[in-house]
Amino acid sequence: LASSFPAKTIDLGALPTAYVVTVSDSFKGVDYMCKSPSKVLSDVGKGADAFGRTVSFHVVATDVGRGADYFGRTVFYHRVLADVGRVADYFVRAVHFVKSYSDVFRGGDWMSKGVGKALHDWAFPEYLHVRTWIAHLSFADSGVVSDWMFKELGKRLADVVVAREVLGKDVVKAYVDASRASDVAFKEIGKYPFDSARVGDWIVKASVKVFREAVVGVDVAGKGIVKPFADSLRVSDWMFKEFGKRIVESVRVGDWTVKMVVKAFRELGIVSDLLAMGKVVTVKDVFYGEHAPVIVPAKELRDTVRVSDWMSKDLVKMFMEIAVVRDAPYRTIAIILRDKFVDEGYVTKHPSLAERDEMLMRDLATKVAFKLAGKDVRRVYFFPPELQALWDIIMAEDHNVKVDVAKILIDAFRRVKEKLGG
């Protein structure tokens, strides 16, 4: 076994020898990790006539790992191994020391760190043969330090925000006003405005961040140093944001008014004047005798007069007014005014009067006409097919008046320019 390892032969007559092996390894990872292991291996052997050997194994390992802001760790490992053996005749010593160190902790919200460290020290058997006071010392010392560290730092941040805001507004107003006069007037007004507004605000925001850092460090210190170091860093930043806004607004206003006024009055006058006068005149003759008066009605005169005067007058008047006003989003305005007047009067005596007056007027889109530069202009509307009866086109006069306006405005421009002195 001793031949398998480097051996030192120490002459007992020589001066005490000492050798110091210092292995210092320092590396620094990314910003989040700093590791500075320091190892000092000291082996001091001293032989004399009376063999004495002192082995000191001093390992100072400092491991400082610092993760993100949430993590800080300091490990100080100190081990001193001292072995002093004094053997006269035959000495066999075997020391085997194995220490495993494992530290796993999980902290924070989304961070875990596992540190595994295995330290193996072997002090292999030493055979000491002393013959006739000739000391033969075979010393084999092999130190294998395996420092293996695995550090994985994973950070995952997921932020998902879903916001949805929908605002709907529907306003419907409908009212009907109808009035009927007691006499002969009827008026009905109906308005049906409909207002609908819908606002939809839809937001989705998703943010996912994955941060992964893995460090594997293998440090084997024997007679040589083999240090594979693997560093893997993966940062994935994925963010999705969608902002959608949908606004639907629909406004429908229907204003429909019907005004109907009907006035009818009938006047009937009948005048009957009957005068009957009768006169009865009695003429009496009176005769007087000698002794007694005798009254003898002799004559009667009857006079009867009958006067009849009868007059009848019938007057009928009828007034009808119908107004239809329609106001829609496309500004359809139709006014129909109907004026009907019927007058009939007659007198039975003879004069007979019948008068009839009827007027029908239709005015389309009267609200949309205005004056421009002193000229009457009007807007022309295109109606949907269901209102085909109200279709309108651009008339020749609509075009011509624009030409006139264009010429008039040039004069206005020139006049303002001269006043400004431009």
Binding site: H399, R415, K417, L420
Partner: protein
């Protein structure tokens, strides 16, 4: 273009405009060229109006908020006008936009003139 040059442009456009008649006396169609002349006319008129208002401000040192309102309205409406090509239908809105834009132009001119 200077103010005079822009006025000359307006005059040139109006000289190209023609009157139409009712059927059957030709020309009895409102052609696409008629509409396009007005589109150019309105754009030039709005531009000229803005320059006159700038001149007014520099001369008097005053600002007229209502004129700015009318100018903004005219600009907005003029931006909705379109030129049509042969075969396109001159829609009612093409006609309406012309008079709707010239109306604030006229009002703005009146206000400026009254405050000079």
């Amino acid at each position: 273009l200077s103010l005079d040059e822009k006025i000359a442009v307006l005059e040139s456009l109006t000289e190209q405009m023609e009157y139409v008649s009712n059927y059957p006396t030709p020309p009895y169609y409102v052609l696409t060229s008629h509409n396009n002349l007005f589109v150019d006319y309105v754009a030039t008129a709005v531009d000229l109006l803005k320059e006159l208002y700038d001149l007014f401000k520099s001369k008097t040192g005053r600002e007229l908020w209502d004129v700015e309102l009318w100018i903004g309205m005219a600009e907005s409406r003029a931006g909705m006008m379109r030129k049509v090509r042969f075969g396109d239908v001159v829609a009612t809105k093409d006609h309406n936009l012309v008079i709707d834009t010239l109306k604030p132009v006229e009002v703005a001119l009146q206000v400026i003139e009254a405050n000079v």
